[in-house]
Point group: D2
Chain length 346, copies 4
């Protein structure tokens, strides 16, 4: 932490700041500049100290220099984390594809989609049983019944399944059905939920909040890691900007940034990022070219009949087309598509 | 809902859209323009239908025209909602002042602050027992003990108290201590929590999410209202923008917008909106001038010792100074300061 | 400037950074932290040096600590700047009101508006002769003829006039007609234009760019001040955010921030900030309560016939109503309304 | 254009709106909904009419349905525009690479870079002679001398050159040296400049403004097209968001959106979008995977000595590495790298 004093600060004010730093069990290094005196704070400073120093007379600014996250940072954990879901690995050479409907609507729809995406080469089946919806009047998911249908689809196809948990009270339940537990963008700073999924012994996928900085996202990851769960996957799904043509703006640069500053795997969700099916394929290719460890794609047998987010869902044909383009891009980026998983032992 | 057809759409495509509308139990009004054919959808269209129509060939855009919220809208509820907390009313002539520390730190600090803000004319005491914090390493509140201290401060000062609830499982508990239950910005779209506080028979204050549009905020309010709880207060606390000088950007226009499109009371929180104590007073005055029904202000006996958000807390002196400026501004805006409440019956 | 080294940086890397700093004619102060070594750069560092240091091995971050603007900063110019337009002063006790139509449409409209706003107490007449318009198909102003009409309105009413200049080649021309030359939001970083208006011996009003930070705005001001023109007024007119209800989001906190970090007068334009006439009055009151030195308001005799921005223009009645509310708010904020100017000597 | 009436609007109000539409030479189609009456406006409505209707009693909202740009839209110009620079084509199969230093610093630096990027396979040389800089104290370019050095580099290497024009008065001059004239992001809504480059008989590259929507960008393009210059290339270079890790946020989705709604070629500038050299390669690959027609990359022989934007410049080695990755990604996206141009006739 660095304290920048005002140009007009007095020696007394400088001394007072230094004293307060030392009283907090830290060391103060004073450095006299031409315009400003700068005081380096040496030691593990708590965030409270930042606020305290900011209020002292003569202080212009207090600038943190250490990154506030540790467990999520590559600096303190140089090797890539590789998450294992049965015999599927996420975060190493292979690029994984998660696909399925936005919401589980009924058994028929789910099974048809599961078979369809598996045939195209998807590795993991997605499907929402608990759905966060902007309006209370929208379809909010089948809940428990949806979870059972997911289990059935897994049994039939051998694909591991991922589904979202919204309430701390449902964490155990969802984890007992899902192979990967998803925390959605709207819950990225639902800290109670983060604590709960941090206690699981199961892979968790944490979506980026729609107005969350990369640093806040990694701090949310830190909540989960701090509880002991290191099987964590990040997912970029678009941020909120002034542009209205797309539902959100996919922050493509977040992918190489995460790979650089963190060791966690990161995948991309171009369906939610854009909200328009015809933008999904170009953004999926872009994400892999930028270094993503995988994709999450919404696929529906009949998008124009979907109960949720039909406008951003691919048909089987479109998904098949995308899959055939993905392999050469992955290869150009020094990767390959992961082999679709063999039968999962539930 | 209005369907705008592409300039190049064929008669067949137009007919097909019309047919799909009628199959959904709605009526289609076709209107031939110079460039575009427009099809009006008459009847209560579900959001799923929007997605469905968007995917039909020849369709350029589907534009909703009804507001998606009803219970929160002034159109369907023209009179102002007035929330009652004992003998204090929120949403009529009087402007109410909520004040207190960001976090309850200990009994001494809370009681000193409660007495201090009461002496200056505050109506409600605030204090966080459960604190949402960006990092897992920050002080996260005293929890249950904090609630008990709030109850004690209420007993001693007669001020009603407001405190935040973060987890659905804590709603009953928090409501048994608080006079107003707060849902924080990070939980504005924690729909499970909204459902739970909607079942309370107690006033709720819903803060605007930091990347939430006014419409999404009113839809979150709709969740609470739809559960039957009409004692709802909104709170503008700043949105996330590209500006980094302030912690957030207070959307001052949200205040007159809410007063126009909704019947719910709206207050402003300039402390969180700015993150800097020296901006709190000018923004507090601005909010009242713009028509806010009240303010929520962080006050701390020793901001430079605070365990949370000291940099944005006022001292008693500064709070006293602000209170003396508020009365004439309220009057200029056709309002007055609410009379500080007499003793509350717990 | 402070160089933060990576936790993993070697002594060699630290030495190399220090050497490069000294080679640039600056001094390096090394400060060994627990996790990071920090190197303070002492002396007037150019921005190029920042980029250079950022690229050296072992460097994590380079953080500037001096503010990049000098002439615009209160630190180096503690007294308020007061701009004089004939006998009107901007930036001292009096709050000034600029009013008039968005665009000069014809002599009749302009004179009627000038008389109307003068009768209500406005101090300065606004009116666009050169109009920046998003689309090439919109009305782009009367140009030279508009300037002549403004001169005529000034002659008749005695009010000073403000109008926008868009092209460097028009600066002399516009300045020969206007009492205050306006640089619009879209031209805030048109550096050639800034240089040109910096050479004028006339007051200039610089609007904030719609995606400009406060710091960038002050750097744009620095361009004008650096050319020798100190008669500069800033104008907050809303920034671009994700909210779509209003045209822009008025950054109300920018007003007290500018008053704190700069000595320049700052006024607010609630008409462009909101785009909706019914939000103009509450935001005008809010801006004055927050400490603005004045307002710029669009007024039109028949808003529903206006050739530009009718939806955000006040009628004379609404403007009159606003003026009567302004005086007590100004007083509550320790200010008063400026006395409408007496006859101007052209 | 569609007028949505309030739920509470009277028959009189509806009639009045219809009458005003007909008085403006347009037709009104009234459509009675369950909650709202909707009035379709048939005919070419001017934007002024929108404002006018918005102000009539009983009107809730006026929604435009036609796209405001015509010449830039694919709807009215289905074929891709292919811009020709000598024997190089931009906008067809080949992906073109523009490379060079941010600013022309001296002859040696420019020639070295020109030779270096040509050897790696670049098609066009970039280099700024007139530099827009946030602060007046930064290096602002060599001006006329820089243009001469660019001409010399073209003569020596045979590469066409692109350089920015900032002032309307310099358009002729810059066009007499450059093969492609660039309008920078800060000038995207400098409408005077757009008019001037619209009169050229030379290719123009229009960068997206940093807070500009895709629609505003196409409207800026419309200014140039409306003056008769159809040799227009768009360039996505990142938008301003709340994220601070990168200088801007590259809106990767803008690339497929432009390809869908417009016929103009679109390229990407990952150097300015990110501000960090180590993010340039992944974003360059992503842009090509998403369908961009080319790239603009900053390359410098010694980035750590650059006078501008060194932190985002690639070394020759890094640029060479990127070029070798680009070919397979282009191929995977159904494209190929354009053949480096043969000698240009100046």
């Amino acid at each position: 932490m660095i304290v920048v004093m005002k140009a007009s600060s007095s020696q007394d004010e400088i001394d007072r700041v230094a004293r307060r730093i030392e009283e907090s069990g830290l060391k103060a290094h004073i450095s006299q500049g031409v315009e400003h005196t700068i005081i380096g704070v040496v030691g593990q400073a708590l965030s409270e100290i930042r606020d305290m120093l900011q209020l002292l007379p003569g202080v212009d600014e207090v600038i943190p220099v250490s990154k506030p996250y540790k467990l999520a940072s590559r600096e303190f954990h140089p090797q890539n984390t590789v998450v294992k879901v049965n015999n599927l690995t996420i975060g190493d050479d292979g690029v994984i594809i998660i696909a399925g409907p936005c919401a589980v609507e009924n058994e028929e729809q789910l099974l048809a989609t599961a078979r369809g995406v598996k045939a195209c080469g998807a590795n993991v089946l997605r499907g929402g049983a608990f759905k966060p919806r902007t309006s209370p009047y929208y379809f909010r998911g089948l809940g428990m019944k949806g979870l059972e249908m997911l289990a059935k689809a897994r049994e039939e196809t051998g694909m591991p399944v991922i589904t979202e948990v919204m309430a701390p009270r449902d964490v155990e339940l969802v984890a007992s059905y899902a192979d990967i537990v998803q925390v959605g963008a709207r819950n990225m700073q639902n800290f109670i939920l983060l604590d709960e999924v941090g206690k699981l012994k199961k892979p968790v996928m944490l979506k980026r909040g729609m107005s969350s900085t990369i640093q806040e996202w990694l701090l949310a990851a830190e909540y989960i890691l701090a509880q002991g769960n290191e099987q964590l996957i990040l997912c970029e799904r678009g941020i909120r900007t002034f542009e209205t043509f797309t539902r959100n703006t996919m922050d493509i640069s977040a992918i190489p940034v995460i790979k650089r500053v963190s060791h966690l795997p990161v995948i991309a969700d171009p369906s939610h990022a854009t909200g328009k099916w015809y933008l999904v394929a170009p953004l999926a290719l872009a994400a892999i070219a930028a270094g993503a460890d995988g994709l999450m794609i919404e696929v529906h047998p009949n998008p124009d009949q979907a109960l949720a987010d039909g406008a951003q869902s691919l048909t089987f044909d479109n998904f098949q087309g995308l899959m055939s383009q993905l392999a050469p891009v992955a290869q150009a980026a020094g990767r390959k598509l992961a082999t679709p998983g063999t039968k999962v032992e539930p």
